[in-house]
């Protein structure tokens, strides 16, 4: 009878010993500080964690993908926390499809220019000077810096730029393929360092839109001497350590890539340092890791395991700040974040019977309590009053129009403030909303639900997608209540990307979505509503023309936008009357409902690094995942 006892003891003992040995083995390195659940109020004492000692390894000759990792200490390492649970397709290093772009690979594929969204200035990087447009804006010339070399030693020339744009045009499925086929007639290398782009029609913002990282990314120049021999450039992985691929111009190359992290090491030499344009970055290693769920984010941030986070919601950020005061947001005071490039709006399907008349949408605007929405979505940390220095005095985070509060865009909004008053954009008045609908013949039935003049019940399903940036369930429910108060049969629906994308085909009532377009120039956002982009239900229009705004007012708006498109973004005097006309027309029919500017909290950890972008030092967007993050990573200063 003793035999089975020994069997059990053996099995249980093995599991116990294994688990204990696993625990002790894996915790030879300093463990993160234990934390309670994220929701509890933390102890205020900040922790000071000494730099982690890296494992001892043989010194390699240079950073090589898949080779032995160099011994680089923690205080020369910059760790970026990325939204998500793990990375996928990790061996793909094609700059047009790799998940590592925005996670480190973008430091290798540099851009011609980097726009600073806060002051509207475009810094030439691979380019030597500002672009020179012809008088009629049908061509633009860009001069490259002399001395730029690829990581394999070859020189970057105008031929590489010409090859790249032609490749994008021919392939057809790259991000900018359709755009370049629309706008670019041809590109020519005038000499080794000069590229001339010939447009199909006047476009004063061609370089800004496609080479300036005006919004997140830009065209990535690839080396012609490598890519010209690749048959299938779309599925090309660009990953061959023996050949030294990937080849780019930037200071950092990938050395180790996995689902749980990506490691990029500083090269031994970099063209920008060689020609005196920039100094070698003090950062020697960049690591990208997935942030995972909120509790892990907080643990990692408090324990100094990350130096930057792609995003935090307000609640987790305050929890972190309470335990580790080294975390620096862009703005010292609430709401802490910087104005994100993509304000939020409710895109109303103007093709639906309930919402096709402007009066219905204007009533909708008055019915929505935007201040309450903002308060709920930002967990109480967003003030409804103005944030000083952010250009939002008087509006708080409630932008009456749809472009972010940057540079020239603030001026355009302020110059037309009287229009917002004229159209009562910011007025929350349920009685007024009800009266407008009553007077327009939207009568209430016995069930309290209004009926359109054509006899259809007014209804709205508000679709939204979880972003991880904003807590939506409660505020969207407040929207439902606001609509119900004016007699609309309202409900909400959380969807994933599949059905969300489907909405764009026209099968939706309302969609809560960001408006990504302008960061310097008004044209991008305005053009989003141009009626020329509207497609029949069943086809996808471009971005926010999913609203399908049409009619005489929309046509006039389109004409104004076309005229704006022919003027340089810097021709403020010429733009002023056209922008005013466009805003006036748009506000008169409200094809979409502006909701709020999004305070994007993407903070830095100052334990090991300094010289981040802040409101006092706004030299770049703090979102280091944008391709312009290259300006940040190359300018960070080590604390010790």
């Amino acid at each position: 009878m003793k035999f089975y006892k020994w069997v059990l003891v053996f099995l249980l003992g093995s599991m116990f010993v294994l688990s204990m040995s696993c625990s002790s083995e894996a915790t030879e390195e300093p463990k993160p500080a234990p934390t309670k659940a994220a929701a509890k109020a933390p102890a205020p004492e900040p922790t000071k964690v000494p730099p982690t000692k890296a494992p001892e390894i043989e010194e390699p000759k240079g950073p090589v993908l898949g080779g032995k990792l160099r011994d680089i200490p923690r205080n020369r390492t910059f760790i970026m926390g990325q939204v998500g649970n793990e990375f996928s397709d990790v061996d793909n290093l094609n700059p047009y499809s790799s998940v590592w772009m925005a996670k480190g690979l973008h430091f290798l594929f540099e851009s011609l220019y980097y726009l600073n969204i806060f002051d509207g200035k475009m810094t030439p990087w691979l380019a030597a000077d500002q672009p020179e447009y012809s008088d009629d804006f049908t061509s633009v010339t860009v001069k490259l810096r002399d001395g730029i070399t690829w990581s394999d030693g070859e020189k970057l020339t105008a031929d590489d730029v010409v090859f790249t744009v032609n490749m994008i045009k021919e392939e057809g499925t790259f991000l900018y393929s359709a755009n370049l086929n629309e706008w670019l007639e041809s590109a020519e290398a005038v000499d080794d360092l000069t590229v001339k782009f010939n447009m199909t029609k006047p476009n004063p913002r061609f370089v800004l839109d496609y080479f300036g990282v005006h919004f997140f990314n830009a065209i990535r120049v690839v080396p012609e001497h490598i890519w010209k021999d690749i048959d299938d450039k779309v599925t090309f992985k660009n990953n061959d350590p023996e050949k030294g691929w990937p080849v780019g111009t930037g200071a950092f190359v990938p050395v180790k890539l996995a689902e749980t992290q990506g490691i990029f090491d500083r090269r031994d030499s970099w063209w920008a340092d060689d020609v005196g344009f920039q100094s070698m970055p003090e950062v020697e290693r960049v690591i990208s890791v997935p942030l995972g769920p909120a509790d892990r984010q907080i643990n990692m941030a408090v324990a100094n395991e990350i130096d930057w986070a792609e995003t935090f919601a307000a609640g987790p950020f305050l929890t972190i700040k309470g335990q580790n005061d080294k975390w620096i947001p862009f703005e010292k005071e609430a709401p802490y974040g910087f104005v994100d490039a993509c304000p939020f709006a409710i895109h109303v399907n103007n093709a639906r019977e309930s919402w096709k008349e402007p009066i219905a949408r204007i009533a909708l605007n008055h019915a929505i309590d935007k201040a309450k929405f903002v308060k709920l979505s930002h967990e109480g940390v967003t003030p409804t009053s103005g944030s000083e220095g952010m250009g939002l005095e008087g509006y708080g985070w409630l932008e009456p129009f749809l472009w972010p509060a940057y540079g020239d865009l603030i001026d355009f909004r302020d110059k037309n403030a009287d229009l917002y008053e004229k159209h009562n954009t910011m007025v929350h008045d349920v009685d007024k909303a009800n009266k407008l609908l009553d007077d327009a013949g939207y009568t209430k039935g016995s069930d309290g639900i209004r009926v359109t003049p054509s006899g259809e019940k007014m209804s709205a399903v508000i679709r939204w997608i979880p972003t991880g940036y904003v807590e939506f369930p409660a505020p969207v429910q407040s929207l439902v209540e606001d609509l119900t108060a004016i007699g609309v049969d309202a409900s909400q629906e959380q969807v994933q990307w599949g059905p969300f994308g489907d909405s764009a085909m026209g099968e939706f009532d309302m969609q809560l979505m960001w408006v990504c377009g302008s960061t310097k120039d008004v044209y991008a956002t305005l053009d989003g509503w141009h009626p020329k982009h509207v497609k029949p239900v069943g086809e996808k229009p471009s971005s926010y023309s999913i609203s399908r705004w049409q009619g005489p007012t929309a046509e006039k708006f389109g004409e104004a936008v076309d005229a704006i498109g022919l003027l340089s973004p810097n021709d403020i005097a010429g733009l002023d009357p056209l922008v005013r006309e466009a805003i006036d027309l748009w506000l008169s029919e409200m094809p979409s409902i502006p909701l709020f500017q999004y305070p994007s909290i993407r903070p830095y950890n100052s334990t090991y690094w300094s010289n981040f972008p802040t409101s006092d030092n706004a030299y770049n967007t703090p979102f280091i995942g944008w391709f312009s993050g290259n300006k940040v990573i190359t300018n960070l200063k080590a604390v010790e």
Partner: protein, 334 residues
């Protein structure tokens, strides 16, 4: 051996039929869900890069790449042909990643975790279950019976949440997330130990909630076996108690239990979706969850085809080897 040629042939034909019907359903069902995957791709592009000119043309381009512009019957025929060649094409949501590569990368995490936990919970559960009713068993195993039933009733994902709370949040015994340490790049034995360490919580949640089920079913089978005459004969012949327990009692009781094991092995590829999501474990279940959210037809089809294949294959293998396990079984043509 109790197999006949006729039986084997019929069995293989049935296997092929099951796989084909499953693959066909697998083709049509995702296409019934709302959402155009190509449009979803463009929406995600726009979210990252601003406005895309002429998205309709780009959508058409992608639909052509993925064959979505063909008539449904053509898509079906091509899909069936490719499936049986294990060519799943390119992922839509992670374009241009190859579906086979994505599955191969995720597979070891799932099979490693679930195969291990399955074998552990099966072994321990079966032994405990048998001892619960064995006349010579210690009284403590009789107390285990109600406890096993409680654990059998707790879904593994609830057990996962409980373990997360106790062993990760409150006492930091194990990590709560992922499959490796931040910033570390271990190799060899160190990496193996790290993998075991990070899989302890997801593994424990599955083992604890599964042991009860195996124990309860084994207990029921053992009760039936106890009444068999051969056990009495073995005792009368003076064979040792432990030998009677393992080689007479358990061996016979294990036969139906083994059938359950085979089916469970076949379902391993289904992954423990919720556990993998809770722990952000990079396995097949997590991959499938993301694919469904993105209407990624090729990835959904690839994963579910392998699930169908493994489940049907496990049952087929069980049917073929069962006569070897139980010589009393013979398959005849009638």
């Amino acid at each position: 051996m109790g197999l006949t040629v006729g039986y084997v042939v019929r069995r293989f034909c049935l296997f092929a039929l099951v796989v084909w019907v499953g693959a066909s359903l697998n083709f049509f069902v995702p296409r019934l869900a709302p959402g155009d995957p190509a449009a979803a791709m463009i929406s995600r592009m726009e979210a990252a890069g601003g406005r895309v000119e002429d998205p309709a043309a780009l959508i058409a381009e992608y639909r052509e790449i993925f064959g979505l512009d063909e008539p449904l019957w053509v898509q079906y025929a091509v899909s069936m042909r490719n499936l049986f060649k294990f060519e799943f094409g390119l992922s839509i949501s992670q374009f241009p990643a190859n579906v086979r590569s994505l599955i191969i990368n995720a597979l070891p995490w799932t099979t490693g975790l679930l195969l291990t936990t399955l074998l552990i919970s099966f072994t321990i559960g079966s032994i405990i279950g048998a001892l619960m009713v064995w006349p010579g068993g210690h009284n403590i195993f009789k107390l285990v019976s109600p406890i096993s039933m409680v654990f059998a009733a707790i879904p593994y994902y609830l057990m996962a949440l409980l373990l997360l709370w106790v062993l990760a949040f409150n006492y930091s015994v194990f990590p709560s997330f992922g499959a490796g340490q931040v910033g570390k790049s271990l190799e060899g034995l160190d990496r193996f130990v790290e993998i075991i360490y990070y899989s302890m919580l997801p593994g424990l949640s599955i083992v604890i909630s599964s042991i009860g089920l195996w124990a309860v079913t084994m207990r029921g089978i053992m009760v039936t076996t106890l009444g068999e005459d051969f056990l009495l004969l073995a005792k009368a012949k003076g064979i040792s108690a432990s030998r009677i327990f393992f080689w007479y009692g358990m061996r016979n009781a294990m036969l139906p239990q083994t059938t359950g094991l085979a089916i469970a092995v076949g379902q391993i590829l289904a992954g423990s979706v919720i556990v993998e999501i809770l722990f952000s474990y990079p396995g097949i279940g997590h991959l499938l969850y993301k694919a469904i959210g993105m209407n990624d037809y090729p990835l959904i089809q690839g994963i579910t085809f392998l699930m169908i294949l493994s489940a049907a294959g496990a049952v087929l293998i069980m049917d073929l080897i069962y006569p070897r396990l139980d010589p009393r079984i013979t398959y005849t043509s009638n």
